[in-house]
Structures are given as C-alpha cells and as structure tokens.
Symmetry: C2
Subunit: 240 residues, 2 copies
DNA sequence: TCGAGTATTATTGTATACAGAAATACGATG
DNA sequence: CATCGTATTTCTGTATACAATAATACTCGA
C-alpha cells in the first residue's frame, strides 16, 4: 500500500493556492495584517497577481488553522489572540510537550538525539555571542526535533500548530539573553533525561520548561502592557 | 468591539460549501467512503447537485481536519486512521480532558451544570432501556458541555477536533451497554467533583475516564481484530 | 431635519470555461 | 512480442462570468 504520509508542511507550495496560503499565514503571523482586519478576496488576489479562486481556497484553510474567521456572505477577518489564549496555549503545551518528551524517550533515534545535542551546543555558542535570531531559530528547531522524535503524528501535528500559533506573539521582538540561556539549559536537561531513558524526568522537565517560558513572558511585560483579558496581544518576549 | 465568537460548529450550514463539507465529513466518518478512496470533484458535485467550486473548498477544509489528503494535481484521498493514531489520541485526550475538567470547575455556569445533571439523568434512563443511539448522543453532548464549560476556546477547539476524529472509529457500532453505564457513572463522578469545586479530583477523574474508554476499546476487540500497528481501523466499540 | 424605503454599489457565493498535469490507451518500431 | 513514445482522456488548477447577499447612498415625504 502506498505511503501517503507526506510531510505535513508541504501544503503544495508550488500551486497558487499553496503560495497564497503561505503568504497570508506569514503576513498574519508577522503582524502585517492586524487583528480584526478584513481580508478582501480581490484585493489579496490583485496584490499577489492571482484570481479569487486560489485566494478563496487559501481562506478556507486559514480559517481551519484559526488564523482568520470567515463570516458567511460578509468577509474574512484576522482572528485576534487574547492574552488568555496565550495563557491557555501554554497550559496545553505544558501537558503535551511533557507527553511528547515522555514518548520521545522511548522512540528517539540516534540521529535525532545527535541533532539535539548539536542544537544545544550551537545555541550555547550563539547565546554567548548574543545572536538572538539564531537562538530563536535553534529554539524552534529543538522543539521540532522533539515533536518528530515522539513518533506520534497526532501529537506532532497538534504541537506544531500551537507552536506556530504562539510564534505570532513572539514575532520579531526576541527574548532577552537571560531567558535564552536558561531556556537552553532546560533543553539540555530535557535532552539528558531522554538520553538517560528517564521518561518521567523528561516529561516533568518539558512540562516545567513550558511553564517557565510562560512565566518569563508574563514577567517580561505581557500582562503589564496588555493587562486586560480581552485585550489583544501584539508582541511579547516569551522564549519557549 | 464586536464579538466574533460564533459557535464553532456553525460552519455555514446554509451555504453549498458548508453543506458539502458536512455531508462529506459525515460520509467519511460513517465509513461510506473507505480509507484511501479517491474523491473526485465532479462525481461528488453531481451527487450533491452542485458545481466543483464548493466541492473544492470543502475539500480544502476536510484536508485541514485531517479527514482527507490532497495530493496536488492528483486527487483527494480519504485518510486512514491507524490503531496507533487512536491510541495516541486517547493519550492526548486523557491529559486535555483532565485539564478541561479542572478549568471547568472554576468556570462552569449554573446552566451548564444543570444541563450536565440532566444529561446524566437522561443517560441513565436510556441505559436502562437499552437505547444505544441516545446514549451515544448524550455521551457526545456531555463532553461538549464540558468543553464549553472550560471557557477556553483553544482547548475547546482541540478537544472537539479529537473527539470528532475518534468518532470515526466509533461509527455506527455502538458500545455495549455495560460500558455505557460505567461511562455514565464516570460522567456523574466528574460532574460531582466539578459541582463540589474539587478541581484536582475532577481532573483526575476525567483523566481516568479517557483511559478507561480506551481500555474498554482495546478489550472489545480493536487490537484483536486489527492487531498490527499499521493496520487501518474500520470501526470499534470504544465508548468515551 | 429626520427617517423609511429604495436604488446602487461592493463583496461574497456559485457555476462554468479554459489551461495544465497526470494517467491511460494506443500504435509504431525494434 | 516488448517497449518506447505519443495521442487521448480524465482529472485537477485557475480564471472569469454571473447570481445573491449585505452595506451604502440616495430620494422622497412628513
């Protein structure tokens, strides 16, 4: 039987629809389109030089990703992320990253483990140099490896979704160096627990890692700036 | 600021696309379209008396829901659920339903609590009568209330997705009456913990509720029938 | 001046037409 | 008879045309 297990992210990057989808997602995540902004099919289409058809299809996908909301016969609006959403996501991620680490302890391959070690090593280097961009990228990659390593496409998919979602909040403004190092230290601990085959510890550490990231985010001003629950978040400093 | 919080399930049931989407989802979940079966746009369109446009848009949504997989320039294929997927989902749900119950303990409204009590009461009645259809419906509704009650649209959304996903497996073949009653008993315990404001207990009970449902599913033959990991699941008896 | 009702416009929803890719059938050639 | 290449067919991908709906502007009367 054929293996239909194409990498999820592929999403047809060579079709117009795929490109529109990716472009819009990026623009929403990067903040080009503000919360509650209306996206008009023709306008987007003209901007990207395509007709409404691929735009509409991309819209349907973005809606399911939770990035926009389509009101029938009215329009498509960029969904807002509230402070509470972010909090909820970190709660959920805390549990699921824990589970992921637990599963990864059993399933991780030698290659994945090696890439993890390398990732942590590299991150240390960049931390010492203050290269925040690379830090962020390595951080993302670390979690990605973990997601792959758990060997559960369901869990992987969910975690990726959430991870991507909160990246909206992290945006350009990267975390401060202090959290960057602490985060990397936590990565190392998680890695070592996995390496040692201690699933319980790995789970617990991954769990805390998320909660720490959230705490840090809160301390760094998310709540001070956008205090009220209903307020929308524009950016933050949380380092996961 | 307008409240865009439309009910998630609405999905535009009065547009052609919405109807196509729902119909296809139902047909996939009910097993009318088998795993790996190819869905052709024109065929579906003709069957439902609509053009390809709404069908295509529905396809894009179904893909994101994970029910079909679209291969560019080739076609749309019904995705398979492996036994491992089901297992993973129950693991994930166990954690998240626990969290959901915990949150609900704080946030549940009087109306929701009342509906829950009514639900359990009714389910008891139908259990005694052997009305399996109603039991299944009430079971779904119980979890739905819980999802609403946690007051977290992120969590609610994720749980609904998973819930729907495993319903594919449950399909027509409903659980045996024994599990139905046990399940309802567990619902009652969860409800009572929530009512008593005991979040820890509610979490723990909801947690176990999922694991029990999974165990029951396994005992009822899921693994005996479709023993190998890679095998696709057609149906089962798990009662969540 | 205000408001109800209506015309107008803008935008989404759907159907269809056309283009391009993939699968299949077919036939020439060795 | 096998096989490669090419026509044919069947699909999906995209653009456009048309219909329906919602928002807006306008007119007329009180």
């Amino acid at each position: 039987m054929a293996n239909y297990d194409i990498k999820h992210e592929v999403n047809d990057k060579y079709s117009l629809r795929g490109r529109v989808f990716q472009k819009l997602r990026e623009d929403i995540l990067s903040g080009k389109y503000k919360e509650h902004e209306e996206l008009k099919e023709v306008a987007i289409g003209e901007e990207l030089g395509v007709s409404r058809t691929p735009v509409r299809e991309a819209f349907r996908q973005l809606e399911l990703e939770g990035l926009i909301q389509i009101v029938p016969n009215k329009g498509a609006y960029v969904t807002g992320i509230t402070v509470k959403d972010v909090k909820d996501i970190y709660m959920i991620r805390s549990l699921l990253e824990g589970l992921c680490a637990r599963l990864a302890t059993e399933k991780i391959t030698k290659e994945q483990l090696e890439e993890m070690e390398e990732n942590i090593y590299l991150a240390e280097f960049h931390a010492s140099k203050g290269h925040m961009d690379q830090m962020a990228e390595l951080d993302n990659r670390f979690h990605d490896i973990l997601y792959e390593a758990c060997d559960s496409k369901m869990l992987e998919h969910t975690l990726r979704d959430y991870h991507q979602y909160v990246m909206r909040v992290r945006q350009k403004t990267l975390s401060n160096n202090t959290r960057g190092r602490a985060s990397n230290d936590e990565h190392r601990q998680i890695m070592e627990a996995i390496k040692a085959g201690d699933a319980d510890k790995a789970e617990q550490l991954a769990n805390r890692h998320m909660l720490n990231a959230y705490d840090n985010m809160v301390r760094n001003g998310l709540y001070e700036i956008y205090g009220e629950e209903e307020r929308q978040v524009d950016s933050d400093d949380g380092k996961n």
